[in-house]
């Protein structure tokens, strides 16, 4: 790879890594359940070192994450509302009964599923393609690398505004380009036409989320040991074969991790939509979490909003468990 020629220390680094690579074939790195057998177990299967290492990370999580979450979950079973004099009482499953009969919730739920699946899938394929390209010794790669990170460096608020400028029906660049190419005969109002708004915001989300996925996959690709490729090449494997038999298996844990996280994030995200369409037109882009956000912070129905959040948790959990089980089975 190019870095061994451009970076002087490259040779020694490769030598160093070759040493560690001389291990038994068939043992994938990072799939071990445990480290050294430890005779010094004290608490919960951790020795003293382990406890010292793990506690700083766990303490804030417990104080500012576990407790609020539990309280948030509880809110979903109450009729909590905003207001100085409002009294909160436990209502059991009343909120959920109401949710089941709320047609506005169901349509927003359907939109949320389309959104999360479409954004995650497009993000992954586009990002994987880009990561593979950026891993090749191409000219202008630095430019592509920088540009690939641009969307990530921009706040969603800015991204939303920027794409509003792009999509603007009269003054936007998109209609001008499509018009000049003869692809459309009259100006299209992308964000305010019922059939187009969702695809339009999906495209923005893909644009905005691609860099994260690309960086993770690229980091993964750079961890693929060149020797394995070389060995496979000596065995006569073409680049396609090497991709399937060397690159992909190595990346599998990272791919599972990033697509799972992307899916959850996308399902739970609504910042871009908040800026781009506020859920319009006609509720066509009203994602479930935007729906919940409005319930809580526009109308002050905390209990109902939290109930909606609880319902979403169950849905996502089912999806993730299902997905992870499939991927894990493929792994074995």
């Amino acid at each position: 790879m190019s870095r061994s020629t451009t970076v002087p220390e490259g040779t020694s680094a490769q030598a160093g890594r070759r040493r560690t690579a001389g291990r038994q074939p068939g043992r994938t790195p990072g799939r071990h359940g445990s480290g050294r057998p430890s005779g010094r177990r004290t608490l919960l299967g951790l020795d003293r070192d382990g406890l010292i290492l793990v506690i700083p990370a766990l303490l804030p999580i417990v104080a500012f994450s576990v407790y609020p979450l539990l309280r948030g979950i509880y809110l979903g079973f109450t009729d909590a509302r905003a207001g100085r004099n409002s009294v909160t009482s436990f209502t059991g499953f009343e909120n959920y009964a109401q949710l089941l009969g709320d047609s506005y919730f169901w349509s927003s739920f359907r939109i949320g599923l389309i959104w999360a699946v479409a954004v995650t899938a497009l993000q992954f394929f586009l990002a994987f393609g880009l990561a593979l390209l950026l891993n090749e010794p191409l000219r202008m790669r630095w430019l592509a690398r920088t540009l690939a990170l641009v969307p990530w460096a921009m706040p969603p608020v800015v991204i939303g505004i920027m794409w509003r400028l792009v999509y603007h029906p009269n003054a936007g660049i998109l209609n001008t380009i499509l018009g000049d190419l003869g692809l459309i005969s009259r100006d299209v109002d992308w964000l305010n036409t019922a059939e187009l708004a969702l695809p339009a915001v999906i495209l923005v989300a893909v644009w905005a989320g691609m860099p994260q996925t690309t960086v993770v996959l690229l980091a993964g690709l750079q961890g693929v040991r060149q020797e394995l490729h070389e060995a496979a090449a000596v065995d006569g494997a073409g680049s396609w074969r090497r991709f399937w038999s060397v690159t992909l298996p190595h990346l599998r844990p990272i791919i599972v991790a990033i697509t799972t996280l992307d899916f959850i994030w996308n399902f739970n995200s609504f910042g871009l939509v908040y800026v781009l369409t506020q859920g319009g037109p006609g509720g066509e882009t009203r994602l479930p979490l935007l729906f919940a956000y409005e319930e809580a912070f526009r109308y002050g129905n905390y209990g109902y909003a939290a109930a909606l959040g609880n319902a979403m948790v169950i849905v996502i959990a089912l999806f993730v468990v299902f997905y992870l089980r499939i991927r894990m089975r493929e792994d074995d």
Partner: protein
């Protein structure tokens, strides 16, 4: 590498300490007696540059005259203000005085967030604003906001195109009827040009305001409860705009989802001959129009009457404020007739103050006669005091009216949603 990590950790710890120190140090002013200096926070939603400038000037003048009651200007924005106020009130950090709109005050008043101004307002202030306008911020005898900026729906037109088509600009006391408006839009429509372009991104407020032209009220009181209704009077304005869009094809369908100023590029380019909009759009036209562009303001349209619902912008005082008297005093200063004229000028709108109407600052602006005429026909509409209106509007009315204007549902389906789904929501607020 190791050293860098350590240095960074030290830095972080130091930073956290400093931040903690700052947080503890900058405690709020607990003014024991009125003689000690106190401070108030005033949140404005002004967004046009002239208007922001006017806001800041007036605050500076107050601070100069009242060194013991320092007012801090806080810039808010229309997009996030609802969420921000809801959380602010819950967290006890809402601004002492804040700028908003009358139709959203009801729910805040019900939650006990707003100060009832009855005990504080001076008679002079009360007399300066017409009772019909005060009504918009009065719920169950409590006054929860002071109205100051009025908007009305008028029509902006391309003067050159009107002249070409031989259409005369009507006088404020002889406005076009909806029929005349439609006929003229038809005359102005030709290949590549629409006679009219309605920008109705958030249509509910606009449609409800306008429907009073034909006595469409959308809500009725029944046994002390508000019910959503949808009968013949409610249908008229909706139906007429829909016909212009899809039957006569004289209004631009691509404009229907646009926000207020989004139609301007096409308006300047002659693609849209007339742009019905709020009066505030004047400011944007003045700012953005090419130098050679000639435009006129056509008075508000007339149905069975010219009546529109007034949804004035307001200032309210938080019930949590520690200094209610000073806060109201500042509000009265800020909204004195002279200052209302400056604010109205900054936003190209009409002041609620009677005393501000003759101010030369306003009378010289383009289209002023039309703007000022709207002061006489603005009224309080039933929807402004409905509990849960904000949720009804945002969750049901806006999306389903949009769907109707995109020709995806019929007017009866629209009515079904507004009434059946709508009452389901109102129910929750009336328990």
């Amino acid at each position: 590498m190791r050293h860098r990590v350590r240095a960074a950790a030290a830095l972080v710890a130091a930073g956290a300490l400093i931040a903690a120190g700052c947080g503890a140090g900058s405690g709020t002013n607990e003014a024991g007696s009125p003689k000690e200096p106190i401070s108030l926070r005033f949140q404005s939603l002004a967004f046009q540059p002239e208007s922001i400038a006017a806001n800041k000037e007036i605050v500076a003048e107050w601070n100069k005259a009242n060194p013991n009651v320092k007012v801090e200007y806080v810039q808010g924005d229309w997009g996030s203000v609802q969420d921000q106020l809801v959380t602010g009130f819950e967290g006890g950090t809402a601004p002492d005085i804040f700028h908003y709109e009358s139709s959203y005050l009801r729910d805040f008043a019900d939650r006990g967030n707003l100060l009832d101004l009855n005990d504080y307002l001076t008679d002079k202030t009360r007399r300066d604003i017409r009772p019909a306008i005060w009504d918009t911020a009065t719920f169950d005898d409590g006054v929860y906001g002071m109205p100051f900026l009025l908007d009305a729906f008028v029509v902006f037109a391309n003067k050159k195109l009107l002249d070409e088509a031989g259409i005369k600009v009507p006088a404020p006391d002889d406005p076009w009827t909806w029929d005349e408006f439609t006929a003229n839009a038809k005359k102005l429509t030709k290949q590549g040009r629409y006679g009219a372009a309605f920008a109705l991104k958030s249509p509910a407020n606009r449609i409800l305001n306008l429907s009073l032209n034909f006595d469409g009220k959308f809500f009725a009181q029944q046994d002390d409860k508000s019910q959503a209704v949808f009968g013949a009077p409610e249908k008229v304005v909706l139906q007429r705009i829909h016909d212009m869009l899809y039957k006569d094809k004289i209004a631009a369908p691509e404009a229907i989802g646009m926000g207020g100023a989004d139609t301007l590029p096409a308006f300047f380019d002659g693609k849209f001959a007339m742009v019905p909009s709020g009066i505030w759009l004047r400011q944007q036209i003045i700012e953005q129009a090419p130098k050679d562009f000639e435009w006129v303001t056509i008075p508000a349209l007339k149905g069975t009457s010219q009546t529109q619902a007034a949804a004035p912008q307001t200032l309210s005082v938080s019930a949590d404020t520690k200094h209610p008297e000073e806060a109201v005093k500042f509000m009265e200063f800020f909204l004195s007739p002279k200052n209302q004229a400056r604010l109205a000028n900054g936003d190209a709108m009409v002041p609620a103050s009677q005393g501000a109407l003759d101010d030369p600052v306003l009378t010289k602006t383009p289209g002023w006669e039309v703007a000022v005429a709207s002061g006489s026909f603005l009224q309080k509409a039933p929807f402004q005091t409905v509990k849960g209106y904000e949720e009804w509007k945002n969750k049901i009315a806006n999306p389903s009216i949009q769907e109707y204007f995109q020709d995806r549902i019929t007017i009866d389906q629209l009515g079904q949603k507004l009434v059946k789904d709508g009452n389901g929501i109102l129910e929750r607020y009336q328990r």
